[in-house]
């Protein structure tokens, strides 16, 4: 019985093992040292998958819609870069400072929101206003942030690892991001399977009932908010690394939040692999459409509208339910056993 259980649990984990194995194989298969373009795209997929995973924790689990992911990533990035510059240390050290500042900021916003019992829309508007303020402040504080000219930044490299393993800088960066994704993935899996997941579900169902059963709703919402914004702030500097320059335009609402929302909805809210699938599709589309200039914006607008009206549940969960409901699974098992 036990052996059977272990076997079926391993079988359940198979897609995840396959996905991570595929991710490990990406650099040797696709990274070409002569052109950095493709490598950068793969790195961007990982970055946006992690962003979407973070949104999954705060929005998917606790129903707190934040519209300042770009701003939070900017807070993390500017803190990391500026403190590294000020103390003349490596940004690898200040990465956690940036993430922590972003997390505390996000947690504080969630605390006020939970304390004052904001509805989804109020939190969405407050965070959207913060997004605008953060952008204005970064542009305005020209002497510190470099304004719209920005700060050149490429210091998140690991030359020692590169020479030790013989991998190129892009491959190393990709593996670092796969590592971060794996950690966030494990954290999310643990969160949803633990008592936290149960409490999150209770909050989503009925916040007042959850409170009545003794769940500390405020603490949980702040906890989810802190973790999400910590992750976003942590990944921000890697995002800046891909372009080699820290500029406010990188963290705009249209550049980050809109993409992450599309990715999450496309991949499926509260789905564990959804963010990765969504990011791969959206970044691929982005790549495909970039040659058509502004048609890219038109296409994304259309995609967002259609997705929300007709496919709110996401492509991955929808495909899964189609697979199960239409008896596809039975037919496939029948085929396998030769019936």
């Amino acid at each position: 019985m036990n052996a059977n259980n272990t076997l079926s649990s391993i079988r359940g984990q198979l897609p995840i093992i396959a996905v991570f194995a595929a991710l490990v194989l990406v650099p040797p298969l696709f990274f070409d040292p002569s052109t950095t373009y493709l490598s950068r795209r793969f790195i961007t997929v990982m970055i946006f998958a992690i962003f979407a995973m973070a949104l999954n924790i705060i929005f998917g689990e606790t129903d707190q819609l934040i519209l300042f992911m770009g701003g939070i990533a900017a807070v993390g990035t500017y803190t990391t870069v500026l403190t590294a510059e000020y103390f003349a240390v490596s940004p690898w050290l200040t990465l956690f400072v940036g993430a922590f500042v972003a997390g505390v900021f996000g947690g504080l916003v969630c605390y006020v929101a939970a304390r004052r019992q904001f509805t989804v829309i109020v939190l969405a508007i407050v965070t959207f206003a913060f997004q605008m303020i953060i952008m204005e402040v970064i542009v305005g504080l020209r002497d510190i942030t470099g304004g719209t000219t920005g700060i050149p930044f490429r210091d998140l490299e690991l030359p020692a690892v590169e020479s030790l393993t013989g991998l190129g800088p892009f491959a190393v960066q990709f593996y670092v991001l796969v590592g971060v994704f794996a950690v966030v993935f494990a954290l999310y899996t643990w969160l949803t399977n633990s008592k936290y997941g149960l409490a999150f579900a209770a909050i989503r169902q009925d916040e007042f009932a959850a409170r009545a059963t003794g769940i500390d709703v405020i603490r949980l919402k702040v906890f989810a908010g802190f973790i999400s914004t910590f992750i976003i702030g942590f990944v921000g500097p890697f995002y800046a690394q891909t372009t080699g320059i820290v500029i406010p335009g990188l963290f705009s609402f249209n550049g980050v939040d809109v993409l992450v929302l599309i990715i999450l909805v496309l991949g499926g809210l509260r789905s564990r692999l959804g963010p990765l699938v969504g990011a791969a599709i959206v970044i691929y589309l982005d790549n495909l459409l970039s040659q058509f200039g502004q048609w890219r914006t038109v296409a994304f607008g259309l995609l967002l509208t259609v997705l929300f009206i007709y496919f709110q549940d996401g492509i991955l969960p929808m495909a899964k339910s189609l697979y199960e409901e239409r008896g596809l699974r039975d037919r496939l098992t029948g085929l396998r056993s030769g019936e």
């Binding site: 605008m132 502004q294 038109v298 967002l304 509208t305």
Partner: protein, 289 residues
């Protein structure tokens, strides 16, 4: 000193009435139908571009010509709003409660990206409606001509809006739906039809506000998003379901923004607006929930 104060006050007031109109555009649709219309700025930009194109085909028009052209442009925007309301927005109205609010945000966000992209493709330049209203000198202060024209035109418009909501059957019906959708239905007022009319009305108001805005500043397709966000902030400060509150908030914020801009630089004036909205939301979140 006093002259400079008067100049600032007039410019602030002009900016204030423009902000009020944008805020009204959000308040009417959100207060009534719980849809946060992120398309509002797009309506404004389309109206400005239509205006400039019409002016381009009919050169040599004076101020009276601009009024006629602006009316045509606003009518075009209203038509577009009607088409959108009958098609996509109707799908949003089918949902209820929080689902409608969320779907409204995402659908109008998607549509605004779509239209912004199209505007960039077909009309990438910037528009500035220069009608050359001369400045007036009063007590040593040189008052911007366009500011005075905007204030005068907006005063007429506010009068019309006031009349509509207080003295016409449709206007009173609209206020009833804002108060209580179900109650209005029981009184025989069809909410969906009122919502459609108000959606079109809010687009027209945004169209007018856009033309006013373009008299004082350049408008590009990229402006649509910042105009929408300004509108949302003003609407929140005024209390999203209060028409008079929104008008007052717009005027006060316009003056504060202009003074803050003159004293501390333009970026802080924008920060002031957003900070005011955050402060109101933190202290009175129930206003919009």
């Amino acid at each position: 000193m006093l002259a400079q104060g008067l100049e600032l006050l007039i410019d602030g007031l002009a900016r204030g009435v423009i902000l009020s109109l944008f805020g009204l555009g959000i308040t009417l649709v959100f207060g009534l139908g719980e849809i946060l219309n992120l398309l509002l700025g797009v309506f404004a930009v389309i109206s400005v571009i239509a205006c400039s194109m019409l002016l381009g085909t009919l050169p040599g028009l004076a101020l009276a010509g601009l009024v006629a052209v602006a009316l045509v442009a606003v009518a075009l925007v209203a038509l577009l709003a009607l088409v959108l309301d009958r098609t996509v927005i109707s799908l949003v109205y089918r949902e209820e409660g929080e689902d409608r609010i969320l779907l409204g945000i995402f659908v109008t966000l998607g549509l605004s990206l779509l239209f912004e992209g199209l505007l960039f493709i077909y009309y990438p330049g910037s528009v500035f409606l220069d009608v050359g209203v001369p400045s007036i000198t009063v007590a040593g202060a040189s008052l911007t001509g366009s500011s005075i024209a905007v204030i005068a035109a907006a005063a007429v418009l506010f009068g019309l809006i006031y009349y509509f909501f207080n003295h016409t059957y449709l206007g009173i019906g609209t206020r009833t739906v804002i108060q209580d959708e179900t109650g209005a239905m029981l009184c025989g007022i069809p909410p969906r039809r009122v919502q459609a009319i108000v959606f079109v009305l809010s687009a027209a108001i945004a169209g007018v506000a856009g033309v006013f805005y373009a008299l004082e500043a350049e408008v590009t397709p990229a402006s649509s998003f910042s105009l929408t966000s300004f509108a949302i902030m003003v609407s929140i400060v005024g209390g999203v379901d209060s028409i008079s509150g929104t008008v007052a908030a717009g005027i006060v914020l316009g003056i504060i923004m202009t003074v803050a801009g003159a004293l501390f630089g333009s970026y802080l004036s924008t920060v002031t607006l957003f900070a005011a909205a955050i402060a109101v939301l933190v202290y009175k979140p129930e206003q919009i929930s």
